[in-house]
Every structure is written in structure tokens, then in C-alpha cells.
Amino acid sequence: MHIAEGLLPLAHCVGWYAISAPFVIHGAWRVTKQVKEQPESKLLLAAAGAFSLVVSSIKLPSATGSSSHPTGTGLGAVLFRPPVMAFLSTIVLTFQALLLAHGGLTTLGANVFSMGIVGPWVGYWCWLAAQRLGWRVDVGVFLAMAAADLATYLTTSVQLAVVFPDPVSGLPGALAKFIGVFAVTQLPLAVAEGILGVLVFRLLHDVARPELERLGVLRPAADQAVVG
């Protein structure tokens, strides 16, 4: 969910830019460092950004009778960790705001915060938790993708509820309304995104295992005990 142009007051726009900017700058630095230290990871970086571009450009129908789009940021968070996704998401969101009127330039800070910062971090923590619990990699990827998606929309709900409190019930009522609109809509899409993430990760496992091992996402094959 991208907050449309002009939906947030100017003060909120400036505030979200100020909050998101350090994350994006740090993300740009991490991307530069990543490319310098592991030039062979450029392709996977491109894949992470392209995946988010594809997925966030496809509107899918939801069980509530509306439609929405996934975010695709969980995969990049798993591969490269969340800071990189702050930068990549900014690029994706900027292009969408400029060329699609999807989101906005004034609301870019807010959209980056939800889709490029909160979403990837929540997804990454779910991935880490799954690994620490000894769950399958596929389960970790699924949870990372789905959780990143849902966290993005929950964050957007909060951002909008603060600006548009319910006339009767105030912020809690507005939050319930926006969550009811977005989160429920997003549930089946989060499941679909999780499944897609697992499929893409399996494909990357097939074609880019050495790169995934170098990134630390997969254990090197020499140390691996795998039960088929």
C-alpha cells in the first residue's frame, strides 16, 4: 500500500523523510560496501530489487472484494539484510511515484518507512527466529515474506490513523478502521507472497548456491548434512 500524493500533511511528510533518510543513507552505504567486497553479488542485488519492483507493481484481488499488491521486500532482507532494502525500496518507490502516480514524492518518506524499513526488518527477524528454532529454510523464507508484507500494511495503517483519527473514537477507532481495510485485505496476498518467495528462493538455491553461501544465507556444502 502506497500512501497517495497529498494524503499526508506537509509536517508529516517532512517528519517521515527525516526518519527514513538515515536508514536510506545507511542502506546506500551498505549496497556500495556489498558490491565492493563481493562484486559477484551484484546480480543477486539486482534480483532483490527487481523482485520487489515486479511484485509491488502487480495488483491482486483480495478476499474482501478489494485489491492490493504485495511488497516483495522480505526476499532482499533475507539475502542482504534489511538496510539494503531501505535503499532498494526507495528506488522502486521513487520510480512508481514518478511514472505511475502510485504513492507520491511527498509521501515517499512515509512509504519508504513502511515498505523499506519496517517491513524488511520484521521479515528479517522472522527469518532469524525460524532459523534459531531450527525450522526449515523454506518456512523461514515464507514467514519472512509474509511478515514483511503484513508489517508494511500495518505500519501504513498507523501512519494514516494518526492523520485521520475517527471523529468519535479517535486514534484507536481510526486504527481499527484502517487495519480492517488493509490487514484483512492483505492476509491472502501475504500468503501468496510467501509461497512466491519460497519458489524464488528455491530457484536461487539452484542457480546461485555459491553466492548464497558467500552471503551467509546458506551453509557451505562441505559442512552440510542434508537429508533428502
Binding site: 497517495a4 559477484e40 523482485f51 472484494g65 523454506d138 485521520f164 548434512a225 533428502g228
Partner: protein
């Protein structure tokens, strides 16, 4: 062509099933629904909360019609898919040229075979037939054998 794992096939079936199922349920829940985007829904909810609300700025560029908007979204998705396809192709080429350079002639075990803890010459399971393992570097938790 490498045989796909059964679970991969199941996921390939499940993905469109979830999407189509969402559409079907949405039609049943709201028969008159036009599947309006959640961005538009947000604007409507905002207008309900604040009837005097007006956007204080317009987008620099807006598609002239819904058809043009759909086309542009499809174009973006196609560009992203093209990049993904290029990346996958390059990675596949790199992987196979590395294997050829090493003179890799190791037999690929079938999906059902467990792989013993290998030494340097042991066969390596590859591709979608491989069970993934978890991350392991200094900052990540220990991988899980599957």
C-alpha cells in the same frame, strides 16, 4: 530437464489457487465489488473521517486513464521480470561454467537419497532437489540440517 520436487509442484499449484481463491471469495463476499485498490480505499476512509479533507498536492504525472495506468503497471512488472530473468540466466550460466571449469562429473543423487556428511570429493546435491540449509556466518544462527 531436472525433475521438480513434489513440494515445488505443490507450491506452483497453490500460488494461483490462493490468488484465484481470493478473487472467488471476494466475489462472494462483495458481489458488487469492483476490486478497488487499497490506495483508493484509504482515501475513502480518510474522507469519511474528515469530510473537509482535500489533497494539498497532485502527482507530477498521472496516467490519463485506467487503461493507461494498467498498461504502465504491466510495463513495470515486465521490466522487473525481465531483469529477474536476465539475472537467473546469468547465474545459471555462471554456475554451469564454474562446474565445467572444475571438471565436475560428480553424479547427482536422486531426491530420495540422503547425503552423507561429505568430504571434499563427495557428491553434492544441487538445485531444487536439494533441501536447503540455514545461514551460518559470524552474525547468523547455525544452520539447520533438513
Amino acid at each position: 530437464m531436472k525433475r521438480l520436487r513434489r513440494s515445488t509442484i505443490a507450491l506452483l499449484v497453490a500460488l494461483p489457487a490462493v490468488v484465484v481463491g481470493s478473487f472467488v471469495v471476494g466475489r462472494l463476499v462483495a458481489p458488487q465489488s469492483e476490486f478497488v485498490g487499497s490506495d483508493t480505499m484509504a482515501t475513502r476512509v480518510a474522507a469519511e473521517s474528515d469530510p473537509n479533507f482535500q489533497a494539498w498536492i497532485e502527482p507530477l504525472f498521472a496516467p490519463g486513464s485506467a487503461e493507461i495506468e494498467s498498461g504502465l503497471f504491466a510495463l513495470f512488472a515486465a521490466v522487473g521480470a525481465g531483469i529477474l530473468g536476465f539475472v537467473v540466466g546469468r547465474l545459471w550460466e555462471r554456475r554451469h561454467s564454474d562446474g565445467a571449469a572444475l571438471g565436475a562429473t560428480r553424479p547427482v543423487p536422486s531426491e530420495s537419497e540422503p547425503i552423507a556428511r561429505p568430504d571434499a570429493d563427495a557428491p553434492q546435491k544441487s538445485g531444487l532437489a536439494a533441501a536447503g540449509s540455514g545461514p551460518t556466518n559470524a552474525d547468523r544462527p547455525t544452520a539447520v540440517a533438513e
